[in-house]
Structure formats: C-alpha cells, structure tokens
C-alpha cells in the first residue's frame, strides 16, 4: 500500500502491516528531513503532491516491485504538508524470505518513488528566510557504492577513454532499448554487463520458439513469456547492481513519450519500419541521441542519429518508410543468428561510445557490415536541405519537453504560448522576462484550457515536475505540453522570450 499522510509517519505500525510468517527479512528505509541542503541551513520543509497521481504512481511502483523482485510484500508512505527537521518524510518497507531481494527491492522502490512520484518540497532557508520549491527527484544512480571501484568493471575501467569517470557516466545513464529481439538481446546483455546504471527495455511480443536461435537472452523455458519481462529477469541475474525496468508494450504514440522522460540514449532494436520512424521522430524532437541498426540475412547497418550533431536526421536519408511488402522483416526474409549478434554488438559499441563521449562514434555516417565477408563501409551522412528537420536548432543541452510526434521542439517553443504554473510567491527574484509570462497557480490549473486557447501551449514550473502532473490532470489535451526542465532554463532555448 502506498500512503500519503499529513500525520507523522510511524515506522513500527507501518512495518507491522507487512508482518507475515513466511518473511525471513524486513528491510525498511526512512528518508529524513535534514537541517541543510546544498550547504544552506534549512529551517522547515513542506511537501506538496498531486495526490491522485502520486497515489496511483506509488501503487504502480509497489506492484512493479512485487512482480520484479522475489519479495513477499512492499509498502511505502510519504509525508505531505509541513515536516519538521529530523522527522521521516518517506518510508519504504519490504518483506522477503531472504534479505538480498528485500534490500534490492527497497532500494529500487525508493529510487523509483523519488524519480516518478509527483511530490515536490518547499524548503525555508535559515540564511535568507526565503522559501523555495525543489523537486523531490534525486537523479542518484541506482548502483551500489562507487561503480568505478566495483571489481566487476575493473578490466573495463582500465581502457583509456573509460576510466573511473567513464564508468560513473555509464552508471548515471538511463538507456531505453526498444525491442528485445535479435538486436536487443546482445545490446541488453552487453550494456547490462558494462554497468549502464538504468536499463529500460520495451517489447510487446512474446518469446517464440523461432526466436531462440538469435535472441540469446532467452531459453526454452521462456517461450510464451513477454520478451521485455523475460529479458529483464535474465539481465537482473547477469548484473544485480543496475536498475532494470521492463515495459511489456510496443512503442506507440501513446506509450513512447512517457518512456522518453529522463532518458539519455535510445537504441532502436525494433523489427518494424513503423516503430523505427516513430522512435526516430520522437527522439529527434526530444533531442535524445538514438542508435539505430537493422539486419537482413547476412547484412546489417548501424548509425547514431544525434539531434545535437550536424549530420541530419534519419529522414534526411530515408524520408518515408518503403511501401508495405517491399522490404521484409527478419521473420520473413530470414536472418543468420550471428548477423543479429554482430550488428547488435556494433550497436552496443555505439551506445557505449555515445555515453562515454567518444568522438569517433558513427554520428556522421552509416556503418554497413558484410557479416560473412567481414567488410565494412562507412558512408558519410549529410543533412538533406528539404528535410523537415532542417528547422531544427541544436540545443545546448538535452531538451526537456514531453512531446508528441509532428513538431520539433525548437519550432514548438518559438511559436508557443508559454504559461508559468508556479505559485505567485515563487516568482520573487525572477528576471523580468519570466515575470511577464502568464501565471496560473495550482488552484486554477483546471481553467488552463479555457484561459488559453492558443496552441501549442507549453507549461513551465520550477523543475518540470509539476508540469507533468498538470498535463495529466488536464487529461493530456492536444497541443498542451509539459516543459520538464527548469523554467529558468527557458531563456537558453527560447530566445524570442528573452526580451
């Protein structure tokens, strides 16, 4: 059960609710309000949540934990309203037959609560007396201890260009893999083993006996299981020190935007042009680098599409998908298992190169591989002048909009109506250009669609947490977008709003 409480959390009572004769372990975690943040003294703290969504997200996290870990039960509670220094703001409790799973699940639940539950906090600082809203997300990597010191990665850390910093970069990365098939299996296996901190795998298909020759994460016993879930289970066994999440769904315009939030890199391991174009367009608009690959019998190719680069997008090469029936998928055309394996490893290599910031990643070309002859051909890519992506402006950092297909972020913001959805007191000290934006405090959020008829409409707040909750509250209306970065980062990216 996930509770939101304005009363003091009582760990003993909360723990008792988990009691079960079979449990051999109870692991609990308490997050306390401390008297400082970023070196500043904190006098008081107040939590606020978008309650309906917080409850449903919290329950979903607990249900996912019960499905993912060998645990008996899991509960969590979060305080709302003012919380004095020294009291618990959040509590997580997990029972299991064995302690190992209980520790893992408790940590995972806490990380997911911080990452996903729409709760934000206001700290009153002792040095200025001012109150500021902060988002509750920590962004802390899910790996235990310092990954650079983990003996598991010893031989990798020694490679020039990786090192301790590189290993920490991998540990801090969140990577989304679309498709756990012939490409996805080697990609996932190697990225998990390399210590990519958070791996998210999405696939709506079930393991078929005809997949087993090339989809090497699966065994005969997995036939009939969802591929994402079976892959995540296998990967958890391969590397228990990383966080894994499985989406048992195909990438669609409905599912994909949510998966992209907070993602550093996407790998398209799908077997389908429709998905490839969907994933590409969404990543391009969101400014997320994408590693693409495809295989056919004994041929394959791989490339990095980098929205911050200068080589253009996938549509510069291939403006539209080919007519249906002209190009067959692996299932119909056939594929040698080593083709998928080799190209998958090229794809994983590119992913590591992008995450580690190596300059020789295939960002400006396409690598074609003749699997049997061993030949490769690296063809240089250039932007196509009449491609719609030409209006794209490279962003200084990863762009932070929850977007839907059909618009680039730059074009969107350039002509969007931008609305500040913070509370009036949060504007104290803001630059003039922010104070000129229309302001709609939370008690009036429901009026936003009526107050602002112009589309696109982009909602902004202090850290981009409330905007997502607000868009959900409004029922995700067409043309209304959540800016998931800081409102103060807008001038970097919306020059028209600077004056």
């Amino acid at each position: 059960m996930f509770q939101l409480s304005e009363q003091r959390l009582r760990p003993q009572e909360l723990g008792r609710a988990l009691a079960a004769g079979r449990a051999g372990a109870l692991v609990t975690f308490e997050g306390w309000v401390r008297d400082h943040n970023d070196g500043r003294p904190v006098e008081a703290l107040e939590y606020e949540a978008f309650e309906a969504m917080a409850r449903s997200v919290g329950e979903a996290i607990l249900a996912a934990a019960r499905a993912r870990f060998a645990i008996l039960d899991a509960h969590a509670a979060h305080r709302l309203g003012p919380v004095p220094v020294g009291e618990a703001a959040v509590w997580v409790g997990v029972t299991a037959e064995h302690r190992q799973e209980a520790f893992l699940a408790a940590r995972w639940i806490m990380d997911e609560i911080k990452r996903l539950v729409p709760v934000w906090k206001r700290e009153t600082y002792g040095d200025t007396g001012r109150a500021e809203w902060l988002h509750a997300e920590s962004g802390a990597p899910a790996t235990a201890g310092d990954p650079a010191a983990d003996p598991r990665y010893l031989h990798q850390v020694r490679v020039p260009g990786v090192g301790a910093d590189g290993q920490r970069r991998l540990a801090a990365a969140r990577v989304l893999v679309i498709g756990a098939g012939g490409l996805g299996c080697p990609v996932l296996q190697y990225l998990a083993a390399a210590g990519v901190g958070t791996l998210v795998v999405a696939d709506g298909d079930r393991v078929d006996v005809g997949n087993l020759h090339r989809q090497v994460l699966f065994g005969a016993a997995d036939v009939g299981r969802n591929k994402a879930e079976a892959a995540a289970e296998r990967l958890r066994a391969l590397n228990p020190h990383i966080a894994l999440a499985a989406h048992a769904d195909a990438a669609t315009p409905a599912t994909l935007p949510g998966w992209l939030v907070g993602t550093d890199l996407v790998l398209d391991c799908a077997d389908d042009f429709e998905v490839t174009y969907l994933v590409h367009d969404a990543c391009w608009q969101a400014g997320i680098p994408l590693v693409q690959a495809a295989v056919h019998q004994v041929d394959g190719w791989v490339q990095v599409v980098d929205p911050a680069g200068e080589a253009g997008c996938f549509r510069c090469q291939w403006p539209e998908p080919p007519p249906p029936g002209c190009v067959e998928t692996c299932a119909r055309a056939g594929v040698l298992n080593v083709t998928a394996g080799l190209i998958g490893l090229h794809q994983a290599t590119q992913a590591l190169a992008v995450l580690l910031g190596w300059p020789d990643a295939v960002r400006d070309g396409t690598l074609y591989v003749d699997v049997v002859g061993g030949g490769t051909r690296r063809v240089r890519r250039e932007p196509r002048p009449d491609c719609p992506c030409r209006g794209h402006v490279p962003w200084p950092e990863r762009q932070d909009l929850v977007l839907r297909p059909g618009l680039t972020a730059a074009t969107l913001l350039a002509r969007a109506c931008i609305v500040d959805i913070r509370q009036p007191e949060e504007r104290a000290g803001d630059p003039e250009w922010i104070r000129q934006l229309p302001l709609v405090p939370r008690e009036r959020w429901l009026e936003i669609p009526r107050l602002f008829t112009q589309r696109p409409l982009v909602l902004c707040c202090a850290h981009g947490v409330r905007t997502r909750a607000c868009v959900e509250l409004l029922g995700r209306p067409d043309g209304v977008y959540a800016w998931t970065g800081r409102i103060h980062d807008l001038p970097e990216t919306v020059p028209v709003r600077k004056s």
Partner: protein, 80 residues
C-alpha cells in the same frame, strides 16, 4: 559502354544473388543503371526508394555513370 562495379546490400544482394559485380552498361545516370539492374534481377524497390553511395558518400541518383565507377546500392532494412 562504361564498366562499373556494383555492390549490393540486403534485399538487393538477395535478389541478385551476389555481393558485387562488374558489368558494362550504357546507362547515363545512376537512376538508369539501377532501373537496368532492377529489370535484370526483379528488385522490389523503385529507384527513389534506394540509396546510392559512391566513395563513401551518398550521392544523387541523377548523377552520371562514368567508366570505372564503383557504386553501392542500399535498400531500406528494418529487421531486428
């Protein structure tokens, strides 16, 4: 007649039954060369659905065919 060397990928390699070949052609442009090959091997894709690469760059299908040219024809590939 120009003598050209052609690399085939994916479904084009499958249909032509070869990775690479050298042939004599009177086709003036890459597009005409591709159409000639398409007729010979029953390629499933029209010329505007494939890419041509020369000297490791994608090139315009309306570019000229010259003697000694080495060109790769690359179809879209989706498999994963």
């Amino acid at each position: 007649m120009n003598h050209v060397t052609i690399d085939y990928y994916a479904v084009l390699r499958e249909r032509s039954g070869r990775r690479r070949e050298t042939r004599a052609t009177a086709a003036p442009t890459l597009r005409a060369l591709y159409e000639e090959l398409r007729a010979a091997y029953a390629f499933p894709l029209a010329a505007d659905r494939v890419l041509a690469a020369v000297a490791e760059r994608y090139v315009d299908m309306d570019g000229p065919v010259t003697d000694g040219l080495e060109v790769a024809f690359i179809p879209p590939v989706a498999g994963g």
